[in-house]
Symmetry: C2
């Protein structure tokens, strides 16, 4: 991965370079395993909520039900955008949603009472606010560009359900809310990827949280980072019917072109997050009376089987796009939804970076895996 020329060793793409140790997340790319603070993503996906998973990421341990109640109330109380930031969104409303999100997150820094305070306590307060504000920004912009007014958040709804409510202006079904919740849990954190790395580099100069997260949004807007879900949906539409999938894949592979939603910089086997989204796509596409989308994706997976031994496996974004599509969410919001999910991960890595100094970033592991204890049992 690195070439030695003259005396200087060049590490292209920073492959294999470690900057620090991180306690937030652990990834075993060969085994296809992912842990948040030692808890397997499978346990969290099946048994947790976004609120619980985000508490875990920030606080290092699963919450008691009292702690979770308090955390949830803090997230709910933070569901508000200063009026001038809504004006900023109106000023840039015709731009791509990622341009708008980046600008609005940056503008939030102008109004946050703790903006310049990088202490762990202030950064945690700001993180809670951003976790609640990022979905509101995405939704408010989507409403405004359709000529509608932003929807008032509903304090009785959970994080994921409220996001769908403010985005669409109608109550989501329990199943739809649960699937969005799952999506946000799966995207909440993933080690030193490009956007989290960017957040850490910025935090490494002692820049504040809003600067760091604005920069992370900027990095996520790059198609090579956040664009997979959108591209998979485009591919599924081009394929059109399941029986076309094999020929479509073969034509791409013969031309040595990549098939969207396969392969990952870290995983050498199936992305452990993919299986949970797969089940969601199956259920949702049947529920919506459009089973062909699930059938197309599975036909693509079958056609890709011969290449799987080369380490080209399906990743989480292979299924995410179809979920959003079946919800009626336009393609240009797929990456912003990724940002909604990843905001806690960016914030917690900034907290960690402030603590660790000096300057840049991380990628490493720590601690042993832990068994998930459902919240009833934790009391």
């Amino acid at each position: 991965m690195s070439d030695a020329t003259d005396e200087v060793q060049i590490h292209r793409g920073l492959q294999g370079v470690y900057f620090d140790r991180s306690e937030v997340c652990d990834i075993d790319g060969r085994a296809g395993e992912l842990w948040y603070r030692g808890y397997s993503i499978h346990d969290l996906a099946q048994r947790s909520t976004f609120e619980e998973a985000s508490y875990l990421l920030f606080n290092g341990d699963l919450p008691t039900s009292e702690e979770l109640g308090r955390w949830t109330r803090e997230l709910v109380a933070a569901r508000t955008i200063p009026a001038p930031v809504i004006e900023v969104i109106r000023s840039v409303k015709d731009a791509h949603p990622m341009e708008v999100l980046r600008t609005a997150v940056s503008a939030l820094g102008a109004f946050d009472p703790d903006v310049a305070d990088n202490s762990p306590e202030a950064t945690l307060r700001k993180s809670v606010r951003l976790a609640s504000q990022v979905p509101l920004i995405v939704a408010a912009h989507h409403r405004i560009r359709q000529g509608l007014e932003p929807v008032e958040p509903d304090p009785d709804l959970g994080h994921a359900a409220n996001f769908l409510w403010v985005l669409e202006g109608k109550r989501p079904s329990e199943d739809a809310a649960r699937l969005m919740d799952l999506d946000l849990i799966l995207h909440a954190e993933h080690g030193t990827n490009a956007s989290s790395f960017t957040a850490r580099v910025v935090a490494g100069t002692d820049a504040n949280l809003h600067a760091s997260v604005t920069a992370a949004v900027a990095a996520l807007s790059g198609p090579a980072h956040g664009g997979a879900a959108e591209n998979v949906m485009k591919m599924a539409m081009e394929i059109g019917e399941p029986e076309n999938a094999a020929a479509y894949v073969k034509a791409l592979r013969d031309a040595r072109k990549p098939v969207m939603g396969f392969g990952h910089r870290v995983y050498r086997t199936e992305d452990p997050r993919a299986r949970h989204m797969r089940e969601g796509v199956k259920r949702l596409s049947e529920e919506k009376g459009e089973p062909k989308w699930y059938a197309i994706l599975e036909a693509v997976v079958a056609a890709m089987k011969p290449y799987a031994r080369l380490g080209v496996n399906v990743n989480v974004d292979f299924y995410a796009g179809v979920v959003y599509y079946l919800h009626g969410i336009p393609e240009d919001l797929f990456v912003p939804i990724f940002a909604v999910g990843r905001t806690p991960g960016w914030c917690v890595q900034v907290v960690e970076q402030y603590r660790q100094h000096p300057h840049p970033p991380a990628h490493a592991l720590s601690g042993a895996p832990r068994d998930y204890v459902p919240i009833e049992g934790a009391e």
Copy 2:
């Protein structure tokens, strides 16, 4: 600089890690030398203009007078901010100028006709626009927060003189304009520092130029990156009179605290840019009838002499702050002025990153030093 723990080698702060080769800038930290595209910073500082130096950075060679004329006209033509971005600035006007600059640069992306086009040609067009727009943003915000209207740019003024004009609303003296021009040349590019590195990481995801430069502004806002000039000015004010400098320095050093404006991550001798600013401070502080500021700085340098053999030498920002202060520029604009100077460097590194792929960044050298040829002789 790296500690090996378990089997993983950790490179803290990315010290000594190279990501790629860069053709833009070359730094010899031991010798205290800096070149832009092979031309010594001393030649450029003494004989060039910001327009010429920025042409060189983007195009790789010094311009003929015809090329410089065209480049200058392009920069002048780009001196305009879309009205909605002025509205964005008004919405966040009470924030720190770096929060405002980051937000406004981000908002510019919403209106740039080439925003999503990452081709070298489109990126160059966008770079020219940003080089002219960043100073206008800094100035417009400063006017607006004082309850004044932004000043119309003057197409007959050079880049630096126009910046002072739109900032202050009065014609700068030739000397003042020349000193700002020098400051912008000296800050235009400096290899893989934290903000340029951030821009490259973001560009490495195929994110667009506005995303990359927004992230660079975010990184520069960190006190550990852009804050030195401001801190030196605060220190000079605390010292108050030249005769207090020695005791002030001794107290800091005894307490093992850093003295502002000394030391640099790269240079092990005097920052080659410092001497040019020193001369400017000397002249300007006499001209303004406040010679004590130059005297205070020189007294601090004298008091630091015993520590110089440890590699603690004066850096460019040691003098820059006093220049701004003597111009009557408030302290919170010192870092934004750094951004005005550095915008070409960020942009040209993004162009280079797009070309080089895959993903992250650079720090290396290329080519032999070149003799500066003044533009008369180039024809």
